[in-house]
């Protein structure tokens, strides 16, 4: 019966869905700053950390289902995947970089690191997002519409930050 909803290849379906949602959540996290710059949406800032942690949680489930369900803990196969296939290298790198961000997403760690160092560390999210979209692009074999959409949204979100940064820099002090 569960095959009726998940289709003929349920493991592939689960893996793909978790991957999709990891990317959606990551882009939603990155959308908070541009959206909340508009005063009526300023309240969104409160949800940024939660969205970031959800991203990590989905990435973790995505990774675990790959290791446990798809590859069934075949470490040799997994190692070859990571070194042989650039989409896997990118995905694994993105996941590893997410770990320090998740680990420092609490008040105690922000306090311990200090605001400036914490912010510098959390700029890693830009690299993570680029790696995440590259992962999606490189695993697609044909029909690139979905990864193209993700890349366009990411380009917009990063472009907005670049323009914002340039504008602030040019304000005469």
């Amino acid at each position: 019966m569960w095959q009726g909803t998940l289709g003929a290849n349920p493991i592939e379906f689960i893996l793909r869905n978790l991957g999709d949602w990891t990317l959606y959540l990551l882009l939603m996290t990155l959308a908070v700053t541009p959206l909340s710059a508009w005063a009526p949406l300023a309240f969104l800032r409160r949800y940024r950390r939660m969205l970031g942690l959800y991203t990590f949680f989905y990435a973790l489930l995505h990774g675990l289902s790959y290791i446990g369900l798809d590859r069934f803990f075949d470490w040799e196969l997994l190692w070859l995947d990571v070194v042989d296939r650039k989409f896997m290298t990118a995905g694994m790198a993105a996941f590893l970089l997410l770990i320090p961000l998740a680990a420092t997403s609490n008040a105690a760690m922000i306090h311990q690191l200090g605001g400036a160092r914490w912010r510098r560390l959390h700029r890693l999210v830009y690299a993570i997002a680029i790696l995440g979209v590259a992962h999606f692009f490189w695993l697609t074999r044909a029909d690139f519409r979905e990864p193209q959409k993700m890349a366009a949204i990411l380009a917009f979100l990063l472009g907005w930050r670049l323009l914002d940064w340039m504008r602030k820099r040019h304000v005469p002090s």
Binding site: G7, N9, I11, F72, L77, D84, L139
Partner: protein, 264 residues
């Protein structure tokens, strides 16, 4: 529509069949959409009546055959084959069809015919997948003559005791069980005999990933998917992939003097 044919046990595996709903509900047929369930949902896009197949190139009997004319002289038989997709999954499917070799002998290729090229229907108005450049349409595949003449190579017109569903490549398709599934071209409208190796769609799209031969081979590393193992649809654990998809006894001799990692 039911279609009965006696099973040819010599050419059939006794492995458990993949469920009918999975065989007809989990397909790669990009003309009908690029998701696995799209071809089933969009099956009505494919118009199979009337249908004719053009036989062309280096043959003594070229011409256009309509489907009845093409099928009439051949006795249908059922063969249960393994199908291994390059994406790392596999199925066991009871096909109904006849050996491609019978058709080839009938049209009498000349001595210049070294390869056979196949083409899928081009109909971008109905086959909406062809409205976007996912692949260089129409879909093209090809075999070397000795591969095409191998007794395993089948022209299928049915499965599971019925006429081929549209999403599985109606009204006639190729089945080459020792090669990755994309070689088994669907909904054929043209068979061309030629001296040079034909251009094939996936090979043209990404030559470093999809070779012309595309024999199932767990030893050849693939840049996208590990080919060492596969998931049989309906099973949980992966199983080891067999060289030539387990058909080595019948086909290994075709490749004795070839480097299979260069000609992947």
């Amino acid at each position: 529509k039911p279609l009965k044919a006696p099973r040819n046990a010599d050419f059939s595996t006794s492995e458990e069949l993949t469920k009918y709903d999975d065989v007809t509900g989990y397909c790669n047929f990009y003309e009908l959409g690029s998701g696995k369930r799209h071809p089933t949902a969009n099956a009505h896009w494919l118009k199979t009546e009337p249908w004719s197949v053009e036989i062309a190139g280096e043959v003594k009997q070229p011409g256009k055959l309509d489907l009845d004319q093409l099928l009439k002289p051949h006795d249908l038989q059922e063969r249960v084959y393994r199908l291994r997709c390059v994406e790392g999954w596999s199925m066991v499917i009871p096909w109904i069809g006849f050996p491609l070799a019978e058709l080839i002998k009938r049209v009498e290729p000349s001595s210049k015919a070294k390869f056979v090229a196949f083409e899928t229907l081009m109909d971008p108005i109905n086959l909406k997948g062809q409205q976007r450049p996912i692949l260089d349409w129409p879909y093209q595949e090809g075999l070397r003559m000795d591969e095409a003449m191998n007794p395993l190579t089948l022209i299928a017109v049915g499965l599971y005791g019925e006429v081929l569903p549209n999403q599985n490549g109606a009204p006639l398709r190729l089945v080459v069980p020792w090669k990755y599934g994309f070689k088994s071209i669907k909904s054929i409208v043209r068979i061309h005999f030629q001296e040079s190796q034909p251009r094939t769609s996936w090979n043209f799209h990404a030559p470093e990933e999809y070779g012309f031969y595309a024999n199932v081979n767990p030893q050849v590393r693939h840049p996208r998917w590990s080919q060492a193992t596969e998931r049989r649809i309906g099973e949980f654990r992966r199983r080891k992939t067999l060289v030539f998809n387990g058909y080595g006894e019948q086909v290994a001799h075709l490749y004795t003097d070839m480097d299979l990692s260069a000609n992947f």
